[in-house]
Symmetry: D2
Subunit: 277 residues, 4 copies
C-alpha cells in the first residue's frame, strides 16, 4: 500500500524540513518528494509518496501541528479513482477511456457513463458498463442538470469527466464539484474558444491544431489547463479531416491528463495548475 | 540554371495537361510539379521547377494562350532573393538570419538592416552588413514610416523581413509591399494577439508556447500564416524564461518560413497560404 | 465514385503531359495530382485522383500506350480495403483499429483477427468481429505459418496488419503478400532493433521514445518505413511506464500509417516509401 | 547571490529531513528543491537552490556530518561557467553559442575556441573571441591531443564543448575531464552511430531525424544523454537537405542541453543522466 500526501499553504522557512520530520519520526519511507513555491502567490506546494503502512490520521495531526494555519493537507491511499463520464454523441474520447479501463490502464473505476443523447448506449454496453440517457429535450437547463447531478451523486464519484459533453454547466454544478471536473477542449486554448473550432482553424489557415485538457470552472473554456498537445496540419486538409486528426489528439490528451490527475499529481492554484510529473 | 513557374487561376478541366504541354513542346525538363485546387475558392495553384535553359518570355506567352483570363503567371530564375530586414532591439531573429546569410544558407542577399533603435548597429556590423538607424522619436507614424520606406526603396528588395520590428505598419506600407512582408509573431496565433504574449501565456497557465511566421496585411497579427512551431512549457517557468524559450522557437520558425518563401514555395490566397514543400 | 491511379515507371520527358492527356481526352475530372522522381533510381511516381465515372480498362489501355515498358499502373476504386489483423496478447494496437472500424474511420473492413494466443478473443468479440486462435505451440514455425496463411487466404485480404504480432514471418509468407503486410514496431527504428526495446531505451537513458510503422520484408525490423512518431521521456520513468507511453504512440502511429496506405498514398521503392499526403 | 547544492549518495531514510535541517538551522532560504532515488542503483540525488548569503564551508561540513560516507557534495555559486569550445569546420553549433554568449544568454563565459582546422577563425573573431588553430596534420593522435589539452588547460575551464569537433578523443583526455565534456551528435542516438548519419538516414528512408547532446565518455557516441530533439523529414529531401535541417536541430539541442548543464541541473549516474528541470 502506498499513500500520497498533498500539501499547499503559504510559504515559510523550513517547511520541507518540518514536513519530512513528521514523516521521519513516524518511520515512513519517502519514495518521492516534490516541492514548488509559486512566485506570484507565495504559496508552497508539496507532494510526497509514502511506501508501506501509515496511520493517516496520526500523520494528518502531526502535519497540522507544524504547518501554517492556511494549509490544505490531503492524504490519499493510492487506490483507483471513482469516476463518472458525461458524453453527447462523439465516441472517441470515451472510447479511449473505456479501452484503458478494461485493461486496467486508467487508474480509475468507471462507475457510469451518462449521455444527453442515446447514441453511445450500445458502444458503452460493449464494455459491460452502465449507460444512462438523460435527455435535455423539453427541459430547462436547470431541470436537465438537476437530473444529471442526481444521477451522478448516486455514485459519489471522485471526478467527473466531460468526454466531449457538449453542454455548458451551470455555476452550481461546477461549485458542487470544484476542481473535480475535467474537460477536453477541441482546440489549443486560448485559440478558438467556442463552437466549431476546426472550422475556425481551417478558415484562419493555421498550420498546427491542438487540444486542451482542463479543469472546469464557471466559464467552460477558461479553467486551469492540465495538458495541451498539438499536431501539424496544412492547406490540403478540409475541416472534416482536421476534425478527424483533432479527435486523435483530443483523446490522447484527455487520457494523459487524467493519468496525472488520478495519480494525484495536479494541484490547482487560481486559474493555473501545478503539476509534479 | 533552374526556373520556377508559379501559376494561379480559376480551375478548369485539363489545366495540368495544357501547362505541361507548353513545357513539353518547348523541350523543357520538369524537375518537380505540384498542383492544388482550393475547395472554397475553386482556384487552381501550380508550381513547376524547370532544369536547363529556358526562354521565359516565350513560355510566358505560351502559357497565356492556354490559361484562363484571370491567371497569374510568375516565372522566376532560382536566384537569391534580395531582402531588407527591419528590427527594433531584439537580436535573436535577425541574428539567426545574419549567420545563415554569412554561410550561404539563407537563399537571400541581405541588403540592409534598418532599426528604429540604434542598439543592434554593432551586432549587424560584426557581419559586415549596413545598418541604418531611423528613429521614430519626435515623429508621427507617417513621418517615420515615410523615411523607412524611402530607405527601403533605395534597395528595391524582393521581400521585407520584420525580425522583431515592434512597430505597426500603416495600410499604405503594407499595400506597397503586398505579400512581400514577412513577420515573426511571438505566439501561437490566434492565441495571445497583442502585447506581452509571454506574460499572457504565463498568466493563462498554458502548457505549450509557440511562434507564428506570417505575411503582413492590414492588421499586424492577422495575415496569412506560413509556419507555426511550438515548445512545451510548465508551471515552473517564469515569464522571462518563457520569453527566452520563445526566442528560440521564434528564430527557427522565421528562418524556416523564409526558406519556403525564398524558394517560391508559398502562394497566398485570401488570408491563407498554400505551401508546396 | 472516385478512383485513384497509381503509376510508377522509369522517368522520361513529358510523362505528366502524356498521362494527363489520356485523362483529359477521356473527359475525366482530376481532383488531385502528385508526381515525384526519385533521384537515386530515376524512377517516376504519380498518383492521380479522379472524380466521376470512369472506364478503368479503357484508361489502363490508354496509359499503357504512352508509358515506358517498365511501368506499373494500378487503378483502384476508392473503396474500403479488406484486411486481416494478426495479434498476440497486447490489446492497444488492435483496439485502436477496432474502435475506428466500428465508427467508420478506418477506411477498411476488418475481415478477421487471428491470434497465436487466445487472450484477445473476448475483446475482439465485443466489437462483433470474428477471432481465430491458431496456437503455435507444439508446431514448427512452418507448420504454424501454413495454418495462419490458410486462414488468411480464406478472406483474400488486401492487407495484413501485424498489430503487435510477436512472431517472425518466413520469407515465403512475406513473398506471398509482398508490400501488403504492415507492422508496428515498438521503437524509433533503426534504434533498438530486437526484443525489449523499452528496457533497452531505459538502460540507454534516452530522452525520447518512438514507434515505427513499416511494411514487412524479409527482415522483421527492416522494411520500408511508412511513419514514425516520438514522445519525450525522462529519468523518472520506469521501463514499465515507458512501455505504457510507448503503447499510446504505437497505436496512433499504426492507425495514421494505415490511413495513408488504405488511401493509396504510399508507394514502395526498394527499402523506402514515397508518400503523397 | 544564490548557491546550488548538489548531493548524491546511497539512499537512506530521512535524508531530505536531515539535509533540509542543516539548511534550516543555518537560516538559509530554500528557493527550490528536487530529490530522486534511482531504482536500479538505490542512489539518492538532491539539488537545492539557496537564496542569500551562505558560508559554503560551514554547510559542507554540516552536510558531511549527516550524510552517508559515499556522498558527493558540490556547492556552487551560481556564476557563469567557464568554457572552451572545440570545433572543426562547421559553424552552426559554435555560432549559436557565440550569439547567446554575446547577449548574455548562455550562462557561461567562452574563454577560447580551438579548431583543428583554421576555417572558423574569422567567424569567431567577429565575436571578439580568441581562436586557436591546432592542426592535426602530420601529428599522431596523441601528439595532437597533447597540444590541444595543453591549450585547454591554460584556461582551466569548467566544461569543454565539442561543437561539431570531428575528432575522437583518447581515454586519457576523457578521464581528465570526466563528465565535463559535452558533445552534440548528429543523430537520434542510438540510431546511426558513426559517420555520415544523414546519408544513413536518407538511405534507410526514416521519417524523423534528430540530434543528441551527451557527455563524452570513452566511446564517442555512447556517453550519458542530456537532451534529444527531432524533426520530421520525408522522401523528397536529399541527404544535403536533411543535413541542413539537422544543423538546426543540432544547434538548438546543444544550446538547450548546455543551459541545463550550466545551471547545475544535470547529474550523471553511470551511463545515464538525472535532470532536475
Amino acid at each position: 500500500m502506498t499513500h500520497t500526501i498533498l500539501i499547499d499553504c503559504s510559504d515559510a522557512k523550513g517547511l520541507v524540513h518540518k514536513v519530512t520530520g513528521v514523516l521521519y519520526h513516524n518511520d515512513l519511507n519517502v519514495v518521492s518528494n516534490h516541492e514548488f513555491v509559486q512566485p506570484e502567490t507565495g504559496r508552497f506546494f508539496m507532494r510526497t509518496e509514502i511506501d508501506g503502512n501509515m496511520d493517516a490520521e496520526r500523520i494528518h495531526n502531526g502535519l497540522s501541528g507544524i504547518l501554517p494555519a492556511d494549509a490544505n493537507v490531503r492524504i490519499s491511499e493510492n487506490r483507483k479513482k471513482r469516476i463518472v463520464i458525461l458524453v453527447t454523441k462523439e465516441h472517441h474520447a470515451v472510447g479511449e477511456l473505456l479501452i484503458r479501463h478494461q485493461f486496467g490502464e486508467l487508474n480509475a473505476e468507471i462507475l457510469a457513463v451518462i449521455g444527453n443523447h442515446d447514441v453511445l448506449r450500445g458502444f458503452v454496453g460493449q464494455f459491460g458498463l452502465p449507460f444512462f440517457h438523460i435527455s435535455h429535450e423539453k427541459k430547462t437547463r436547470d431541470e436537465h442538470e438537476t437530473e444529471v447531478l442526481a444521477k451522478i451523486n448516486e455514485f459519489s464519484p471522485d471526478y467527473i469527466i466531460l468526454a466531449k459533453y457538449m453542454r455548458v454547466l451551470t455555476p452550481k454544478f461546477v461549485e458542487d464539484y470544484n476542481n473535480k471536473i475535467v474537460n477536453i477542449h477541441h482546440s489549443f486554448l486560448p485559440a478558438f474558444i467556442g463552437a466549431n473550432p476546426y472550422r475556425q482553424a481551417y478558415e484562419r489557415g493555421v498550420k498546427i491544431i491542438g487540444a486542451t485538457a482542463h479543469f472546469v470552472n464557471d466559464n467552460l473554456d477558461e479553467g486551469p489547463i492540465i495538458m495541451q498537445q498539438v499536431i501539424p496540419t496544412n492547406h490540403t486538409q478540409s475541416p472534416q479531416e482536421m476534425a478527424q486528426m483533432g479527435r486523435d489528439v483530443e483523446k490522447i490528451t484527455l487520457a494523459n491528463a487524467l493519468k496525472l490527475v488520478f495519480n494525484d499529481r495536479v494541484f490547482v492554484s487560481g486559474n493555473k495548475t501545478i503539476i509534479f510529473d
